[in-house]
Amino acid sequence: MKLFKKCLLAGMTALAFLGAAQVASAQETDQVGRAAYLDGVKGKKVIFVPISQGMDLNQAWVMVWQRHAARYGFTLEVRDPNGDTNAGIRAMQGAIAEKPDLIIVQNPDVQTYARLLKQAQAAGIKVLQVNMQSATQTDSYVGNDWIEMGRLEMGELAKHCTGPNAVSHKVVWLAGVQTGAANIYMRTGIDEVLKANPELQLVSDQPADYISEKARQITETVLQQHPDLCGIMGIWDNAEVGAGAAVAAAGKQDQVTIVTNGAGAATGCESIKNGLLDVIFNFNAPIQGEIAAQQISELLQHPDRKAGSEKTIFFGPITRVDKTNATGRNCWKPEDIK
């Protein structure tokens, strides 16, 4: 009987412990800090002012951010000026007047929004710049290391166009928009490589304005002038297909190396497979979008931090893509991201 009592007591104690343990574990199932995170981002308002939503990189970013916004309950509004700088200024002014929690901006050039970004910061709005920087530094920049990009692309040409086996030392820089951040910084990187390889000869430096037909026309003219051209470097795969078409039309695909950069969309890989492009330095826009999404969360979680008080920079990945690795992750399609 005594034994039975002891067993009962032991059993009840065990049950009590078990019960207590269950209560404890129920409390701990809420991931540490999650409630505070949700509280921090929920109901916040984010406005994105792009250059144009028609570009592959923009589509990738917004798809990533929308998914993020839908999951954690903040709003993301895209105010697309569609390549029109004046409309962009109006969009920025409108965004500042609305006092959102965060403005994301892709600058058409380094000057246009410089003052507006200062105004936004002064008004207490946090600003995240993506891929194209302004002269004004704000809370955060996520995007390419453009100087490195210039260095990589011209470095690639230096590999092909220097030394005794090179066709010639003649190279071409097909720029984008000369006042754009990408253009300005890439030029710095290019100049570094040119300085280190004095035999490289930059025979043409013309902006194709991100338009393939313009790139084709410039390339066609330059090829007439320099039939022994060795390499061409550009700024966006969708524009440099025009340069590729001119080189193909001249039957010089084996002679001229075409290097450019791009968001990593499948269309770029197709251009490599078609022989229109040789190398794309791929900055993988979906991953860039994820890094920016992390920055969005960071900036929304700290409403107490004063806008512009801490300035951070995040450079995204750059992958060298050629015929051998133009597959899989290096060639995304919009439907893959959804």
């Binding site: 028609g54 037909e213 026309q217």
Partner: protein, 332 residues
């Protein structure tokens, strides 16, 4: 009919002199570039010049046709990019690309018809009507296509031929430009309808009072210019494997106007012809080619081009002075 140039010798003299000015500038530039730039005079470079202006020239033939009738068609670039992008877009549903191009042409003709009706029947001034329609056409395209750059299917033999083919050593793009220009030239000069376009452009009210079918004439002009714009778009797709709808935001439409006005087709209508368009196109071609070879910056290229446009407009104002008649019926 002053367009025929027979009833007004004074005008003919001036008209010829503007064309002569443009041709003379072209010749001077050509000689200077030939003397100073290596390989400028090579056969390859001459073909490159022609190839590089084939799209601009084709568009300018269409624009010239409308301007002769005292109109202006600012929808051309929008129609070009949206028409071709539409064809590529529907071909991604599995429709045969050739059929898709025909559908695109039908859409483009419908847009031209609508523009023509707005101008001829609703009597909206063409500069405003076409500006607004250009914007709506491009805007609708942007909503539908998602991406700015659309690539044509890779294995379309005829499209490759348009881009890379040659006829007797002349690139197809130049052949198409030549064919469009020749057809338009014959149409304007040799057909009764062509002469009626000049009559309408010279004095629309008089033309209407005399019983000419001015409204159908105007509508036809816009349909034809839209179809010519579509043709230019097909050339471009052949050349660079796809179409970039952002061209709408570029200065292309103004370059087209530059060629037309530069060549000597007065904005007040009723004068000039395809010859003027060709003169203007070749001058712009030589100029752009030379400036590219000289590696001029984008800004200075635009500056030089705009100074030339301004000069051409000034010459136009001197040669075709505003008189009682133009001030009553308006310039454009």
């Amino acid at each position: 009919m002053p367009g025929s140039g027979k009833s007004d010798d004074r005008r003919l003299g001036f008209k010829a002199s503007q064309e002569v000015v443009v041709v003379a500038i072209s010749v001077v530039l050509f000689l200077v570039f030939s003397a100073t730039l290596n390989n400028f005079l090579s056969q390859g470079n001459i073909i490159a010049i022609l190839k590089n202006v084939s799209i601009l020239g084709t568009l300018a033939v269409g624009m010239g046709f409308v301007v002769v009738g005292r109109g202006i068609d600012l929808t051309m670039v929008a129609v070009m990019v949206v028409g071709v992008a539409f064809s590529i877009w529907i071909s991604t549903w599995g429709i045969d690309f050739t059929l898709a191009v025909i559908c695109g042409a039908i859409l483009v003709a419908a847009i031209g018809l609508f523009t023509g009706v707005m101008v001829a029947i609703a009597e909206v001034p063409p500069i405003f009507a076409t500006l607004a329609i250009a914007s709506s056409v491009y805007g609708s395209g942007r909503i539908v296509f998602a991406s700015d750059v659309l690539y044509a299917p890779p294995d379309i033999a005829w499209l490759k031929f348009v881009g890379n083919g040659n006829v007797l050593g002349i690139p197809m793009s130049v052949v198409i430009f030549g064919a469009v220009a020749a057809l338009m030239g014959l149409f304007l000069r040799k057909t009764r309808f062509g002469r009626l376009v000049y009559a309408t452009g010279d004095n629309p009210n008089a033309a209407r009072t005399t019983g000419l079918p001015t409204r159908p004439i105007i509508v036809t002009q816009y349909v034809v210019s839209a179809l010519i714009a579509f043709t230019a778009g097909i050339i471009m797709t052949g050349l660079v494997t796809g179409i970039d709808t952002r061209l709408y935001n570029s200065s292309l439409i103004y370059d087209v106007l530059l060629v037309v006005v530069l060549g000597g087709i007065g904005l007040s209508g009723g004068q000039g012809g395809v010859r003027n368009v060709i003169a203007g196109t070749i001058l712009v071609g030589i100029l752009t080619n030379g400036m590219t070879i000289l590696n001029f910056s984008y800004t200075s290229q635009n500056l030089i081009k705009s100074v030339i446009l301004l000069g051409a407009l000034a010459i136009d104002a001197i040669i075709n002075p505003r008189d009682e008649q133009t001030s009553q019926s308006g310039d454009i």
